[in-house]
């Protein structure tokens, strides 16, 4: 359950960003690469728990998954995939060198005045 650590980290980033502003967090959006190993449902669950009793209590967490990219180790083709690991569309070889897709980014925080 590294999603719990991630949710705590997310909460910390939100608190730093909002500082002492008198606001309530309505929605938070993050994007994660498909190869990062983050389960969106687990992250949403952990976030709900971490937010309890804070100004983000009840906030909605939207998780957008971004396709990952690998370079095939055999034929060199660069291809996209939507999973932890992909298969080269050229030669069928599994995996390859991951070029992108392990990112985890806090995109936006939607707030309302209290």
């Amino acid at each position: 359950m590294h999603e719990l650590s991630l949710a705590r980290d997310l909460m910390g980033a939100i608190e730093r960003k909002l500082d002492r502003g008198k606001v309530r967090v309505v929605r938070v959006s993050v994007s994660v690469g498909s190869a990062a190993g983050i389960v969106p449902e687990s992250l949403r669950f952990a976030f709900r728990v971490v937010c309890e009793g804070t100004r983000a209590d009840g906030a909605e967490l939207s998780v957008t998954t971004i396709a990952a990219r690998s370079r095939c180790a055999d034929c060199g083709i660069i291809f996209e995939f939507d999973a932890l690991i992909g298969r080269c569309p050229g030669c069928g070889r599994l995996g390859g060198e991951l070029l992108s897709g392990d990112e985890m980014i806090l995109r936006t925080i939607a707030v309302a005045d209290v």
């Binding site: 359950m1 650590s5 390859g96 980014i105 806090l106 925080i109």
Partner: protein, 234 residues
């Protein structure tokens, strides 16, 4: 309250952030890394399944190097200090971090542990992470070398099932290779899967009990240590 019609629903505004998650762990890890580099301390993050033989490998390494170099070990486990006791019995300095609910070590725990260790310039520092093929992959500790340890009885397909962990590794160790003849495990298949996930990582077979491959493992650590020192003084 809404400015437009006074309906009582306050207006929502969106703040753009675009920051990486785990940025504070990354910052602490960089601080640890800089501290290690300054003092020429080679830090090695040992990850892998529970029971793959991480502690047994450390015991074997300590037995070989106890006389010639200072070895310190930070032991991460959910509970107990059993592994620290094993490390001390083997002849090295150990510090236990009990992670409790945490399923991995984080960079700040390494920083805190350093305060309890008599670290000296040129030391070799091993960090035995919590046994787990998922969570530790995400948390940089400031190490120079990341090692993933697995063993044959876990099955050949583990690299495919836990790609982020194997992708994070500089060195993948198949320990308990003495068990290969006794379990349905195809070494070629396993090697192909590791290669699929991480084309460049080094792969070694060891037996912490029988001693096979230990020489290669020590040589590999020495290579990294030399490259590390050369880098610092470059």
């Amino acid at each position: 309250m809404c400015d437009t019609c006074g309906c009582g629903i306050s207006s929502v505004r969106t703040i753009d952030v675009n920051e990486r998650l785990l940025a504070s762990n990354a910052a602490q890890a960089e601080q640890n890394r800089a501290h290690f580099a300054e003092r020429e301390i080679l830090a090695i993050n040992l990850m892998g399944t529970p029971g793959a033989g991480k502690t047994a490998l450390l015991e074997a390494i300590i037995a070989k190097w106890r006389e010639s170099r200072r070895i310190l070990v930070i032991e991460g486990d959910q509970a107990t200090d059993r592994d620290s006791a094993r490390i001390r019995a083997a002849g090295a300095i150990a510090c236990q971090v009990e992670t409790g609910l945490g399923c991995h070590l984080a960079a700040h725990q390494i920083h805190d542990a350093l305060h309890h260790l008599d670290l000296r310039d040129g030391d070799l520092l091993f960090i035995e992470n919590v046994g787990n093929l998922v969570c530790p992959a995400l948390f940089d500790l400031g190490e120079r070398l990341r090692v993933v340890v697995t063993s044959p009885a876990e099955g050949a397909d583990k690299p495919l099932k836990y790609p982020p962990m194997f992708r994070a590794a500089h060195l993948v160790v198949l320990n308990k290779c003495d068990l290969i003849p006794h379990v349905p495990f195809k070494l070629d298949e396993w090697t192909d899967y590791v290669r699929a996930i991480t084309p460049h990582a080094r792969i070694l077979k060891t037996s912490a009990l029988g001693g096979e491959g230990l020489g290669e493992l020590l040589a590999e650590i020495d290579n990294v240590r030399q490259a590390f020192s050369a880098n610092i003084f470059a």
